[in-house]
């Protein structure tokens, strides 16, 4: 087990990338701490799988280095990296029994038979397949096969990291929850570094201690679920995380106030001058709907069970607000923004406030 460092890394699938757009992964430096449980979150096609395949050595990066601890493994073969990876779609060795499938990575490492038998039984119990160990893997259902793939990924105790590439796509919802819980238990028990790729934010937020959000080949933010929610570093994080996503409104910033077409909104912090397209971002959770505040138009109200979502228009821009349980939309609704919860963005990147007033 070791810390994984990506240094100056970039990758393009083209032989001679000319512009930034040709890179599937833009240049990045990133460190995955030993024993961390990470979720790699992002829309389809943002480079998550590429990044994973570079770590496991299935893809060689066009530039930069990959380090396991202090060892440079950029040119090392996948098999030399001792790393486990579970793919989106099940891969099983058809002609082998379930038992042999699970034992395969251990046998390839030349472990002794008694240890293999013990370990395979343990893993079989974990994935709930101990009663089917002796049957052929061929002809099993897709989710049974994927459980075998997961089991094969977890069977080695000494791996440097376990990488999961949207592994639960083909698993049914009930089992999904259970397997995810087991992955967390496994992490707690053995402390493997785990990187879990997904485009499902619930999955990411429940699995990981740290979530890494990728957008168009870049890591735009790494943080705890709370950090991603409260202070998204990029507008993409703002709208990708949270349901519904963060509201973004064009504004001009002077000091501690944002000006929205003649209306001033206090920001709760002081900002320096901004350049480029300036927006303020506020979570629907922090937009209050009452009979005081700024005028806006309610388009519709969606009931999602625990709370209701108000879909509205404010100064010609779409806006969502969350209405807590028990409250209702007044006859002449007005909205307010919770001051400390507003983030400022210049060209999609978050602007740090110069001073934060004490106690705000």
């Amino acid at each position: 087990m070791s810390r994984i460092t990506l240094s100056n890394l970039a990758h393009s699938y083209l032989a001679n990338p000319a512009s930034d757009a040709d890179f599937a992964l833009k240049q990045m430096d990133h460190v995955w701490d030993d024993g961390g449980a990470y979720a790699l979150l992002g829309a389809s096609g943002c480079g998550k799988t590429t990044l994973l395949n570079i770590i496991s050595g299935l893809v060689r990066p066009s530039q930069g280095r990959v380090l396991f601890g202090d060892r440079d493994v950029t040119d090392a073969e996948t098999s030399a990296r001792n790393i486990a990876q579970v793919f989106q779609f099940p891969v099983v060795y058809d002609t082998m029994t379930v038992r042999d499938n699970l034992a395969f990575p251990l046998r390839n490492r030349g472990m002794d038979a008694a240890y293999i038998a013990r370990r395979v039984d343990q893993i079989a119990r974990m994935i709930g397949m101990e009663d089917r160990l002796n049957r052929k893997a061929r002809g099993l259902t897709a989710d049974a096969k994927q459980k075998i793939s997961l089991g094969r990924g977890m069977v080695r105790e000494d791996v440097n990291a376990i990488l999961f590439d949207e592994p639960l796509t083909v698993i049914d919802p009930h089992m999904k929850w259970e397997l995810r819980t087991q992955l967390k238990d496994l992490h707690r028990e053995f402390g493997h570094t785990m990187i879990y790729v997904t485009h499902d934010q619930t999955e990411a937020l429940t699995f990981a201690q740290k979530v890494v959000v990728m957008h168009e080949g870049r890591v735009v933010q790494m943080g705890t679920p709370e950090e991603l929610f409260e202070t998204p570093a990029h507008t993409f994080v703002g709208y990708f995380i949270g349901s519904p996503g963060m509201n973004l409104l064009d504004a001009e910033i002077t000091g501690s106030e944002a000006h929205l077409q003649g209306v001033s909104v206090p920001l709760g912090a002081v900002y320096g001058p901004t350049t480029g397209r300036t927006q303020i971002g506020i979570r629907p959770d922090y937009v209050t709907v009452s009979d005081e505040g700024l005028p806006f138009t309610v388009k519709r109200v969606e009931d999602v069970g625990r709370h209701r979502i108000v879909r509205a228009e404010f100064q010609g821009q779409p806006l969502s607000a969350i209405l807590p349980e028990g409250s209702s939309v007044p006859a002449d609704p007005r909205l307010g923004f919770a001051a400390g919860k507003i983030n400022v963005y210049a060209d999609d990147w978050r602007v740090q406030p110069t001073t934060v007033p004490g106690g705000a």
């Binding site: 299935l58 996948t78 098999s79 486990a84 793919f87 891969v91 395969f104 390839n108 049957r135």
Partner: protein, 290 residues
């Protein structure tokens, strides 16, 4: 609900039935007719019953030819199947060289059988053939017209040259259908090259491989033209395989009765072996799914 019973659709099969009757069933029945009669021409037939069959079953000549035939089919399967797999594994997977190899591999398959025979007949000649002359110049005593072993080697090498491509192309198609994820998973699992072949490539190739074996067996078991052109069945009867022997008997010696009995048994043997093979194939498939 009452279903209308209408079996008129069967009439649609009639043309095929007629065609097959004329092209296969009737000629076959003629052979059956010859096999149970003796004739001296003039369409006069004398009933002999199973005499010809008895004569053929006890004929040393036939058993010798059968033995040579089995040996030949065995040898070429043992060479062509592994060699075909090996070539398929080493062919480029995509790009210009993949197409180039495919065309190159397909070439021998496009050459008419008797031309293949002629090519090797000349190629192997000691006086003017490139192969024969080169070997002779190197001091190797090679002469396929005198030496039975040289004749066998020539015929086997010619068949390998002619047909290994078929096995390779079939295997290549099987290999191409394996998703990349399997190879990636194997690398993650630290599988050796042998394990990748044994547990990924071979199982995925099994279907096409069985077809390749069946085709190659049937074809080689009926081989006639190429060895006939090269060696004419000789020296002596060293390369007289079943078909060649049959043709000698039927058109050379004009022994129509024995030849007909012979060909019927020949046909049944091929049918039997193919059926056994097919059954084994299907059973293996079923067992795997358990």
């Amino acid at each position: 609900m009452e279903k209308t019973q209408n079996n008129k659709a069967w009439f649609l099969v009639l043309p095929v039935l007629v065609l097959v009757a004329f092209s296969a069933v009737l000629p076959l029945m003629t052979v059956v007719n010859y096999s149970v009669n003796d004739t001296f021409g003039n369409n006069e037939f004398f009933w002999t019953g199973l005499e010809w069959f008895e004569e053929m079953v006890t004929s040393d000549r036939l058993w010798d030819a059968f033995g040579r035939q089995m040996l030949f089919s065995g040898i070429i399967l043992l060479i062509q199947i592994p060699l075909g797999i090996f070539i398929a594994l080493n062919m480029p997977k995509s790009g210009f060289w993949a197409s180039f190899c495919l065309v190159l591999m397909a070439l021998p398959l496009l050459i008419p059988f008797n031309v293949v025979g002629t090519i090797w007949q000349i190629f192997g000649r000691v006086d003017i053939g490139l192969l024969g002359h080169t070997l002779a110049a190197m001091g190797i005593d090679y002469n396929y017209t005198n030496d039975p072993l040289d004749a066998w080697i020539t015929v086997v090498v010619m068949d390998v040259w002619h047909w290994t491509s078929l096995v390779a192309l079939l295997c290549y198609a099987g290999l191409q259908s394996i998703p990349q994820a399997y190879y990636q998973a194997a690398r993650i699992d630290q599988a050796t090259r042998w394990s990748v072949f044994r547990y990924i490539e071979l199982p995925k190739m099994k279907g096409v491989l069985l077809i390749a074996i069946l085709l190659r067996f049937m074809d080689s078991f009926m081989i006639y033209t190429e060895p006939f052109v090269v060696t004419g069945g000789g020296p002596g009867s060293a390369t007289t395989f079943l078909s060649i022997d049959l043709a000698k008997m039927a058109t050379g010696q004009f022994d129509l009765g024995p030849a007909a009995a012979f060909s019927l048994m020949y046909f049944l043997v091929i049918l039997l072996i193919s059926w056994v093979f097919y059954t084994v194939m299907v059973n293996m498939d079923r067992e795997d799914a358990k």
